[in-house]
């Protein structure tokens, strides 16, 4: 039959466009690195780069969770509050509850409790959205508000400091802010890289990943195909909650301090990172690796603006514009592709 015939690939224009379209995130990142290197001598130094990684590895973890939610066509605005709650949970169990005095085991207990808290929040979101048919935006906005309220209750509006004298707190602070003894590559970044690789694999090679994308692409068709759509809508919120919990743990460890408003607004940076990485808010499109790179891109931008000692106000404006440009670029490229 003539139907499946290989048409030789066109060289030149067409292939070039497609290549640019596919790798635009990496191209932008490389471009940024070059520009930043030219603009500031402090940029391309090991200290600075490791600093960026240390600060942003927790955002990358959150981005993995957020991406899975975005893939199903949802959104999770409660991540920031979960970061806050889990940070406080960790600090309180380590100090007031005395778990910090028990070496590694105490730390492990705190971490497990935080993960459980994040999971519970995520499951609550997921239940209402998948099984209660409520809108993701509304549900997670509400849980975000509730979550922040809980932060105030937990902390009495006062920050909780981790104590260096506690063995297990010390261990956490070391992991969250230091790197490996040879190169000094931040442990946090290593953790993020491991998770990025695992979840990139899950998305591409497992049934779970495939069905998550399919659900976001057209949920009715997936239901007609005999697949449990509700299940695949539910799990990403749990995942998102767990990653937010991990981020809260790392944040508290790095700053040795848990505050009431820790994590506020992080979810927006994370969403922006995913979108720069090519994820679609309509669901069905996005990659773990590119979301992580998108997150790094945003980190680099913040970093170079800091190095150039620009104030907070212009920084915000520039970041906003860059997000708009990213969305515009991916949209217009996509539309061109669709109509041609």
């Amino acid at each position: 039959m003539k139907s499946y015939k290989k048409i030789p690939k066109l060289i030149g224009n067409m292939e070039m466009r497609e290549w640019i379209l596919k790798n635009r995130v990496i191209i932008v990142l490389v471009f940024l690195v070059i520009v930043s290197t030219i603009m500031s001598p402090h940029f391309l130094t090991i200290t600075n780069l490791f600093n960026i990684l240390r600060q942003y590895s927790l955002y990358i973890l959150m981005a993995i969770g957020m991406l899975f939610v975005l893939l199903t066509g949802g959104i999770d605005l409660s991540q920031g509050s979960i970061v806050g709650i889990c940070g406080l949970t960790l600090a309180i169990t380590q100090t007031s509850w005395g778990w910090g005095e028990q070496n590694g085991l105490g730390l492990l207990m705190s971490i497990l409790l935080c993960v459980a808290v994040g999971m519970t929040f995520g499951a609550f979101n997921g239940l209402l959205i998948a099984y209660g048919n409520m809108l993701p935006f509304i549900v997670t906005l509400a849980t975000s508000t509730v979550g922040r309220g809980i932060c105030y209750l937990l902390s009495n509006s006062r920050p909780v400091r981790l104590m260096k004298t506690n063995n297990s707190s010390k261990l956490l602070m070391h992991i969250a802010s230091k790197g490996d003894p040879v190169l000094g590559f931040p442990y946090g970044a290593t953790v993020a890289i491991v998770f990025v690789l695992i979840f990139a694999w899950i998305l591409k090679y497992t049934k779970y990943g495939r069905m998550t994308i399919a659900t976001g692409s057209n949920s009715s068709a997936v239901r007609f195909a005999g697949i449990d759509v509700k299940k695949y809508t539910f799990y990403p919120y749990v995942l998102s909650g767990v990653f937010a919990a991990l981020a809260g743990i790392i944040l508290t460890g790095r700053t040795a301090n848990a505050t009431v408003d820790a994590g506020t607004g992080y979810e927006f940076d994370v969403i922006a990172g995913c979108i720069i990485g090519g994820a679609s808010l309509n669901g069905g499109r996005g990659s773990v690796l590119y979301s992580a790179i998108g997150m790094l891109t945003l980190a680099l931008i913040t970093n170079i603006l800091n190095l150039l000692s620009l104030g907070a106000a212009p920084q915000q404006i520039i970041k906003g514009i860059i997000i708009l440009v990213a969305v515009f670029m991916s949209d217009s490229l996509k539309k061109k592709n669709a109509t041609e």
Partner: protein, 497 residues
């Protein structure tokens, strides 16, 4: 001025795919001009270029003797061109009236006059003899066929001189087709030029004045309908002769494997009972709105059942959702490709294996064996003659008929025992139809049973062992192979029997 519309040297390619190569196509005032060709021949693309929904690489459009520059749909509307697409472009959350006047919501005034909007919409529907459609209901509440009617009304809501219809009757049964044809004749008599795309050759002979044929993106020729016959048209389209459109099958019909008893679900399914034997095709015929699709959805667990029983191989089964239906070995091919049949923005490959992904997974994490999946999809593409050069392309890049073939491959993948096929050859060309019938016969040989819903009478007559005819939610009669003929089908469907 002889021609109302001239399209000259139209060329269009998508990446490496040449959809149209230097096509010349012209239409006279007051004629119905049929445009035919195999799946992927470029018919829809030519119409999209006419409407401005996509731009040609080169070529010229002349309307009423003057060169027309059509860059966007707004340009074509101004020139009096209306195109009704194969894949509907309705806003399903809006009402019928709002959809019909979507581009002209103020119906001439400065602000929206809802009363006038409603009245005008009702008038248009009445013209088509579809006064039973509630103009204030949401479009998503209607079946595909009614949506098609709304789509046609939308095209007629403006002053038009050129009307193009891309497979308007693929989901309509005789009665609705007749209504549509009456309307087309009225328009034609008023001097409107009509371009009519269809794979149903009988209709083409019934309605058209002239016929143009496209093949692989090239213009083959234009003939007067009076001077040609089916054989030579097929010859022009396919490049070879096709004789038996409905391949013979020698399958022994076995025991009853599927049985439905007194099924009730809403207004659309009332006391429906039937059974199907292995190796048998049971047809379900009826007019639009007779409850065929709704009954299938109820069986498949997508509509709640108020009473009734379903037996599979003698055992009573409860089906609450499609997942359970598939587990019991019941598959369903949806008539609505765009919304419930396919994932248009996923790849062809991923669509084909969607329902049967478990066949390719293994291990603790249900990891997919990509190589096996790829090979399976390639095999299906080959078997069903899906016209593509890469199975990783998005499904939306396929022509309508080829999308339908992907939908069929998808429902075949889980190897169900009982398959409900709702309009299985919707938008499929004559050659490929035969392939699909052939595949259906192979399924029967394996001992499957097929429930086929179809609006195309020829297909019902050619393929079914028995036919149930539905009317307003009840089964109005059953015909055995020897009794199936046009008059019996029509009279049962209209309840004059």
């Amino acid at each position: 001025m002889e021609n109302r519309l001239e399209m000259k040297g139209i060329t269009k390619s998508f990446g490496g795919v040449h959809a149209l190569t230097s096509v010349n196509f012209s239409v006279r005032p007051g004629e119905i001009h049929a445009l035919i060709g195999e799946n992927g021949a470029g018919k829809s693309t030519l119409m999209r270029i006419l409407s401005g929904a996509c731009n040609s690489d080169c070529g010229e459009i002349v309307i009423n003797g003057r060169p027309a520059s059509i860059k966007s749909p707004m340009d074509s509307v101004k020139l009096g061109v209306a195109v009704i697409y194969q894949e509907y472009a309705l806003a399903t959350d809006l009402t019928v009236a709002e959809n019909i006047f979507l581009d002209n919501i103020t119906t001439g005034g400065k602000i929206v006059n809802w009363k006038r909007l409603e009245r005008k919409a009702q008038e248009l529907l009445a013209k088509l003899n579809f006064s039973d459609i509630d103009v204030n209901a949401k479009v998503s509440d209607f079946s595909m066929a009614y949506q098609q009617v709304v789509e046609i009304c939308k095209g007629l809501s403006k002053d038009i001189s050129i009307l193009a219809l891309d497979e308007p009757t693929a989901l309509l049964s005789n009665k609705e087709v007749d209504k549509l044809f009456e309307l087309l004749i009225t328009l034609k008599d008023r001097g409107v030029s009509i371009i009519y795309i269809s794979h149903r050759l009988e209709e083409i002979f019934q309605i058209s004045d002239r016929i143009s044929v496209l093949k692989d993106g090239c213009f083959v020729g234009t003939v007067d309908t009076a001077d040609t016959d089916k054989q030579s048209l097929v010859g022009m389209m396919v490049g070879r002769n096709l004789n038996d459109y409905y391949p013979k099958r020698e399958v022994k019909i076995g025991d009853v494997i599927f049985e439905v008893n007194n099924l009730n679900s809403g207004k659309e399914t009332k006391n429906v009972s039937f059974n199907i034997r292995s190796g048998e095709i049971l047809g379900l015929y009826g007019l639009v709105g007779s409850g065929r699709t709704e009954t299938a959805l109820a069986i498949f667990g997508l509509r709640s059942i108020s009473s009734g029983e379903i037996f599979l191989e003698g055992k009573k089964v409860e089906i609450k959702n499609p997942k359970e239906a598939f587990r019991h070995g019941i598959g369903y091919l949806s008539e609505d490709r765009k919304h419930t049949g396919l994932l248009l923005d996923m790849s062809i490959k991923h669509n084909i294996t969607l329902s049967a992904i478990d066949k390719f997974t293994s291990g603790l994490f249900s990891s997919i064996n990509l190589k096996e999946e790829n090979n399976y999809a390639l095999g299906e593409v080959e078997k069903l003659a899906i016209h593509t050069n890469n199975i990783n392309n998005l499904t939306s890049s396929l022509s309508g008929g080829n999308q339908q073939k992907v939908a069929i491959a998808k429902v075949l993948a889980p190897k169900c025992k009982v398959i409900i096929m709702d309009e299985p050859t919707r938008g499929v060309d004559v050659g490929s139809k035969r392939e699909i019938y052939h595949i259906m016969n192979m399924l029967l040989e394996r001992g499957c049973a097929i429930l086929m819903i179809s609006s195309e009478m020829e297909e019902i007559i050619g393929m079914c062992d028995r036919v149930l005819v539905m009317h307003e939610g009840t089964i109005n009669g059953e015909l055995d192979k020897s009794e199936i003929n046009e008059t019996r089908l029509i009279s049962l469907a209209m309840e004059v029997d």
